[in-house]
Every structure is written in C-alpha cells, then in structure tokens.
Symmetry: C2
Subunit: 265 residues, 2 copies
C-alpha cells in the first residue's frame, strides 16, 4: 500500500531486536522479510547459512526499498554463532516441540522484550528472534538456543505462514509495544479532521438546527404538534452524533437553502 | 513456516468479516492475500475489477493451499456493489485522508467488529474490510463507502506494506479477538510440557536436592559451616526456578550419580 513519507525520520527505537533467519532458502523471502522488518522499525538482520548464498539480487529486489536492512545483513555459520551476543532469544515456531519450553504469544514476547531492554540502563542487553527455513521451520537444536518459543496464533486448520508474514506478525507486536512505550501517538478512534477546518462549536450546530427547524415549520412538516419535540430531538441527536465540522455545518446550511429554493428559480 | 495440522477442522467463526480487494493488480498478490486470510480464519474474498482478469492461475499458485478462498471469490463491478450487503465497513489506508473520518487501529477495528457481530442475535449483520490497489491504495470515493478508516501503525519512514501483509495485519487482530471471544485456548507463558512426562512434584524435587546435598556433604563442599544454609537455599532456588519435569529430575539424579562415580570405575 502507498503511504511512505520519506520526510519523516525513522524513530530510533532503543535496542530493537535482531531478526535471525536460519538457513533461509529463497532470496525473495529474505527480501520480503527485510521489508516487513523495516515496516516494524527493525533494521538488524542476521542470516545463518542462506542456501543460495549471499549477497542475493533476489533479496534486494524483493526488499522494495528496505535496502539498508539487506545491505547491513550479516551471515553466520551456525545459529549458536548468530545468537552469541544476545541475552534474550525467542524461537518462532508454528508447532509445539516435544521439549520443555516456555511458549508465549507475539504480544507477550513484545512485552518481555520491552521490559528486558527497558530495565537495562546501559543498553548493553540485546534481544533476538529466530525464524526457521521456509518449509520446515527451526530444528530442535536451533530452538534450544532460545529462552522461549513464540507462536503466532493462527487458524489451526491452515497455519502455514509465509516467512515474511511470520516476521511481520512478531515484529509488528514489538513495534506496537515500542510506540506505546515511547509515547508516540497512535491512531485512535477520535475523528481525524482535515487541517483547513475544525469541529463545529455548539452555536454553529444549533444555528444550523434552528435554520432547519424554521424551514420545516415553514412547510408544515411538524403537523402533529405533540410530536414536534420528539421529532426535533431525533433530528438534533442525528446531527449531534455525526460530530460535524464547521465546514460541514456550513455545507448543511447550504443544503437547506438549496432544498427550500423554489424549483425553476 | 511449517505446522499446518490438516486433522484439525477450522473453527467456524461467527460472521467473519469479508475481505474486499479493490482493483488488485497482480494475481500473485491476490493469492498471497487469500493465504493470509485463511491463516486468520477468513474465507470470504471479494474482488472489485481485478486488473488482469479472473480467475487467475497466478492467484491460485500464490495461495499455497488456500484454494477454497480463491475458488469462492466473487468479482464485482464497483466498490459500492461489493459492500452492498455489509453493515459495517472499514477502509484500510496507509495515510490520513483530507476527509473527516474516524480512524482506528486494527485492534480497535477487531473489537468493534466483534461487538457489532456479537450483538446481532440473528447473525444477519456482516462486516467487511476494503483494501486498495497495490501501489496507490484506496481512492477517496472508495473510502467514503466505509464507516471508518483502519490504519496499521507502522514505521512512518517506511510504511509501504505489501498487500497481503496489510490483509494479515488487520485479519490477524480480528482472529485474536475472535479466539479470545470464543474462549479457544491461546498460547500462554506457562511451560509446554511433552506428553510423556509431567511437572515434577515437590517430593521428587526435594529427593533430588537431598541427594545432591548428601553427595556435596560427602565431598566436603560446605566447608564453611555458617554458609551452608545460604548455599543450599541458592541451589534449591535455582532448580525450583527451572520448573523441572519428573523426567528431568530423574536425569539430574543420574547426573549426580555419574559425577560422583570414581573415575575409571
């Protein structure tokens, strides 16, 4: 989807987790994962023995602009080497292992990472997330390098996640926790109002409603007098609920004027 | 990632939202979106004027098993036609519009959809989510068909989301809200224990610790007598914290036996 605003500088998140792809097969999937990472503010990619070698033109092409992630990626000979400097490691798996492991959701992992990295004054602690080969996931030997398993809850009848999708699902929970932590404004269910207008004040709203009422009176709309108060209340309620802008109130007044104009005038 | 368990039947979620792709360009992206949908338990796909026609071999190939979603997809001539039978519609956009719209996060949209569909005894209410063309997103005319905008919060310096990624980001929040609503078990941070063992009971743990203590006494490990209680407490604490299984306690007893065996015996 469209919308990248390159005038905005990337928020420097404190000690974002490292993404480690263990023996990824297709360069395309590495590139798509890099794109998903950068969407979530993650920039440090590590690769354990990528099957088709490194660097990869396919990866660069599929990264669609997340070039910095691809170009700074580091290659390691083993999972153990790739996690050597990390203090908290999660293993992303789609199935439970026949091992005794703590299993968390992406949301729980995000909170743990935030707590863990946030408690660290020196900023020396690092977290990472291990992802497995496209078809087969992580080996048990990879999983034992991790402190806990992170499982993305998905439809159990169709749980096969694209590698980049798994990276996004976990990275995005980290991003949401990070922007919450940093106090960065999130979308909220309040109205988004264009810059060139503002919410109508009640005088404007009432002026419009009075205008409407006068015109309705003029055409005998409220012919059953005892129903008048309830009918007016309903109309008011409707427009009140619409959270109109000043511009929209003016538009509505124009509509009233238009509608009451005699045809052919 | 691996892990689809085809022996599990798909949970039939009450009135899952419809996914509507408006003028999607590449069949591949339609297929990847279908896969992301089914990961999240969503099965009803609608297409408004897919650029390269329909049906699409590319879409089927990229759906990797989500064949039912592709084969039951319906094609519409306009966004308005595609949402005609829906009661609550969200428009997924990556940028704010110069329009007065309510803007929600995927999590907020998920809660709204659950509340809206859950309040409906007859099950006649339907919700849907509009997604735009790959490069340009939704047109303002499409957005005006929706009750609210849903924006996936992403890195503002790199907010270009793959279409399937956007479908997943929003669909997955719906899925998480749906399984929470349905009481379906989610991963939790409790230990996952293999089927053939169980958490050790305290008698087993204490037996192992006593065994260890006896052996350490035998070799004069606690030579500073006043430190003995604290040293034992530390050892106990360490093993307690590990949440050992019965099998692991037996393994540890074997380790103690092994270590105390005289070399060469």
């Amino acid at each position: 989807m469209a919308g990248t605003d390159s005038t905005q500088t990337q928020k420097a998140f404190k000690a974002a987790p490292v993404v480690i792809l263990v023996e990824p097969q297709l360069g395309k999937n590495i590139g798509m994962s890099a794109r998903a990472m950068l969407n979530c503010g993650l920039t440090e990619l590590r690769l354990v023995k990528p099957r088709d070698g490194w660097p990869s033109e396919d990866a660069l092409a599929a990264a669609v602009g997340a070039v910095e992630v691809i170009e700074s990626a580091r290659v390691f000979e083993s999972t153990q080497d790739a996690v050597a400097d990390l203090n908290l490691v999660f293993a992303a798996t789609a199935r439970r292992r026949d091992m005794t492991n703590r299993v968390v959701t992406p949301r729980q992992a995000a909170v743990e990472m935030q707590d863990f990295l946030g408690d660290d004054e020196d900023g020396g602690n690092r977290a990472g997330i291990l992802f497995g080969r496209e078809a087969k996931g992580l080996k048990n030997d990879d999983v034992t390098q991790a402190d806990a398993i992170v499982m993305v809850p998905v439809n159990p009848a169709f749980s096969s996640l694209n590698l980049a999708q798994a990276v996004f699902a976990i990275g995005h929970e980290w991003y949401l926790a990070a922007i919450e932590e940093s106090g960065e404004p999130q979308a909220n269910s309040a109205l988004a109002i264009p810059k060139d207008t503002r919410p109508a004040d009640k005088a404007e709203l009432n002026g419009m409603l009075q205008h409407l009422e006068d015109e309705l009176d003029a055409v005998g709309y409220f012919h059953v007098t005892e129903k008048r108060p309830a009918m007016l209340r309903n109309l008011r309620n409707m427009f009140q609920r619409a959270s109109l802008t000043e511009q929209e109130v003016r538009t509505l007044r124009g509509v009233i004027v238009g509608l009451t104009r005699k045809r052919g005038q």
